[in-house]
Amino acid sequence: MTDNQEKPTQAEAVPAKPNAIAIFFEELRQNSLTVTILAIVTGLLLGGVVAVLTTESVYAAFGTSFGAGWREVFRIFGLTYSALFTGAFGQPDKIQAAIASGDWGQINTAFSPFFESLVQSTPYILAGLAVALGFRVGLFNIGAEGQIFVGALAAVWAGTHITGLPAWIHAPLALFIGGLGGALWGFIPGLLKAKTGANEVINTIMMNYIAFRLSEYLLTGYLKDPTKSHPISATVEVTAWLPRLFPNPNRFHVGFFIALAMAALVYILLFKTTWGFQLRTVGLNPNAARYSGMSIVKSTVIAMSLSGALAGLAGAVEVLGVNRNLGVAFSSGYGFDSIALALLGNNHPVGVVLSSLLFGFLRNGALRMQLSAGIPIDIISIMQAAILAFIAAPGIIRTIYRLKEPKEEIGSSILTASRKEKPL
């Protein structure tokens, strides 16, 4: 019946207490599409509100007259979102003119903001998949940031220190090595969790900081570009570059398709293979999984390693496709954002891709909004936090918009789930 030799001590190591993650996500799945969309919209609106509240010209305008004040409010509101939109999609008038002129160079430039948004989405897709995979097995992978770093470091190493390979070998090899690095970074906390029960939240956070220090060390030493004075790696060999599809300034590269392919693979793995079924069962009900002979230890370790590999791939793709080198201040908050992504996407690859596109467009739009409207890019963090909060606590949205409570199904709300999960 069972093909694993689990000693009682090993089974003990993964605790039998109710899986708080599974309970939480069961509750979330009751979220209707309405709530999700309203959450996103409200979160985005909150960003505009913050922008308005912190613009001095608004207060000056209110000083003159009530009407002038509100006009200024709407102006700032409009400015914020139009800057965000044109930053993310491109300026409509430029696009129109470019298409009218028929000149490919002009068209390329006019559409490049849109493609840049896709470029920004790519690491989000992969990191979001990583975290979502972890959630599916009942694990919190907060180490995505560190795994991205290690993957990037490994890919840079493979891209700079391995020479003489043709492009069709070098690039995939570098990507693979990047994924391997990330897998290692996920394997260690996964093993610790499986064998000793150590909390993976803290362990993955610790691995993040170890990764930061490691990257600081390597980028000022072994991997450092000798011709430059600041900590940055040498430029990766051309044979390891991920090809771009369009000429400058369009940075769209094949990494996007690699990310989509990974999403498809994760979907197939999770929903179309026995093994994926095992992983999901371990996440939903560890007791049932153990009873039917699945090895929790193996599932935990493999899932964390795969999760780390995906995040490592995100780092590798960024390095090989976008910058072609690695500087110290490389990743900025992808780790936590990807938690938001996984949540928003309901841990499903399709949802993750859609949310990643949203976040990627937001991020690119905000980058340009910072330049054109002078609004600091951190505003998207505020928006993301708000969206995440509204998704995670749908009661808030329901209260604001006076929506009805969803029908409670037996065994799928936190009340009944926690009752059921009393220890055997």
Partner: protein, 424 residues
């Protein structure tokens, strides 16, 4: 009838050390002896002399330097360690094993410092003084975590709480004085604590996600406001600092006096809070009720304790402590606000809390340890130690992971932490 102990992952066994652990510990002790002998003794020539300065720079309490021949001391340390290791393997120290481990870790540290300072002088007192200072935000973060988690609310958002408090204390203190700034920081921390409590208790959001939301939100909001206002209006970013207060009699104690009793208010607050929390949590009825809400809320409820209200109060209190920690960064250390200046200290505080087994005294010990590693990393370049400083900076994180893996015995989290309480 359900058994309650099954909710716990491991039961605390009093004084019992399994034979396997006894052997592992013995091997670790011998390893320490081996390291001291192999890396330190063997590379030290017999004529080297180590000097430890025993009074920190700028202190008017002068303690004579500790001067000794390096090699004999190192050999003695190795010998004693080996002896203790042998004893551990043969007879075992039973309940005192952890104490001996701590002593041997101290030996290792002492040996390391003696070896590194051979033929030079090292300001040991200065090192320890800086360690105390560096441990303040970590210990305060850990104390905040203890308050929240002992009542059952996991607080991952300490980092964000500290950052938010740092920001408000900067602005308010710039406009008034440091004391008002400190109060503003405490109020900000309380507000964030309240937010965490609302998410976790009222909306039953998974507490890790609530904490993540607070982190993302606080980071985004403070960076946004800092970029928008603090850079433009420099007068908003000049809060001043708390001066150092020398405690009259106690600071004259040789060696320990200047290290412990010549600091600013934040260090003293840390000590006071440590005592207050230990007494309050473990020797008062209020503390007992708080802890019962975290260990077995159902039993607490049956006795008439309002579990959710207790959790609200403790989380807000925890937020206040985190607020003090946040104020330290500005008013007690740097004297201005920089974006994301907490740099992960909140998470290390969490690690310190786990390391310290959810006890205030443990939190202080862990905080001091991490602070020591921090201060040591700065000195390494002065000494002839060939370890890259970055690797020493990794040490606290690696040590935390080792502790979490159960090498130092199992850690015992509050049994019902992370699970929202439902009155049935």
């Amino acid at each position: 009838m359900t058994t309650t102990t099954a909710v716990k992952t491991k039961t605390r066994e009093i004084g019992y050390i399994s034979p396997r652990r006894q052997r592992v510990m013995g091997i670790i002790f011998l390893l320490i002896a081996g390291v001291i002998w192999y890396f330190f003794s063997r590379t030290t020539s017999s004529d080297m002399i180590t000097t430890f300065n025993m009074s920190p720079g700028g202190s008017d309490v002068l303690t004579p330097d500790l001067v000794f021949e390096t090699l004999p001391v190192l050999n003695a340390l190795a010998f004693i360690s080996a002896g203790l290791g042998a004893y551990q393997l043969v007879r075992g120290f039973k309940g005192k094993t952890n104490l001996v481990l701590g002593i041997l870790a101290g030996f290792l540290m002492l040996g390391f410092l003696s070896w590194g300072a051979a033929d030079k002088s090292l300001n040991l007192a200065g090192l320890l003084k800086v360690a105390v200072v560096r441990s303040v935000p970590l210990t305060l973060g850990a104390l905040s975590g203890i308050l929240c988690e002992r009542s059952g609310i996991i607080n991952i958002g300490i980092e964000g709480m500290m950052l938010g408090a740092a920001f408000t204390s900067t602005v308010v203190a710039s406009l008034s004085n440091v004391w008002v700034g400190l109060i503003a920081a405490i109020l900000t921390g309380a507000a964030f604590g309240w937010l965490l409590a609302v998410f976790s208790i009222k909306y039953k959001v998974n507490q890790i996600i609530s904490g993540t939301v607070i982190n993302i939100f606080a980071t985004g909001l403070t960076s946004f406001l800092s970029a928008k206002f603090l850079q433009k209006y420099a007068y908003l970013n000049s809060p001043g600092q708390f001066p150092a207060w020398e405690i009259p009699l106690l600071s004259k104690i040789p060696f320990f006096g200047p290290i412990l009793f010549n600091h600013n208010i934040f260090v003293y607050t840390m000590f006071i809070l440590l005592i207050v929390l230990t007494v309050a949590l473990f020797h008062t009825r209020w503390g007992l009720r708080l802890r019962s809400a975290g260990e077995h809320p159902k039993a607490a409820d049956t006795l008439g304790i309002n579990v959710n209200r207790t959790r609200y109060i403790s989380t807000i209190l925890g937020g206040m402590v985190a607020g003090i920690g946040g104020a330290y960064f500005v008013l007690g250390s740097v004297g201005r606000f920089d974006e994301v200046m907490t740099a992960g200290r909140g998470f290390i505080g969490l690690a310190a809390m786990i390391f310290g087994n959810w006890m205030p005294s443990g939190a202080l010990g862990a905080g001091l340890l991490f602070g020591l590693a921090d201060s040591l990393a700065g000195k390494l370049t002065i000494l002839r130690i060939p370890i890259p400083p970055k690797f020493l900076e990794m040490a606290p994180y690696i040590v935390t992971m080792v502790v979490l893996a159960g090498v130092v015995g199992s850690t015992q989290p509050p049994a019902s932490e992370g699970i929202p309480y439902e009155k049935e």
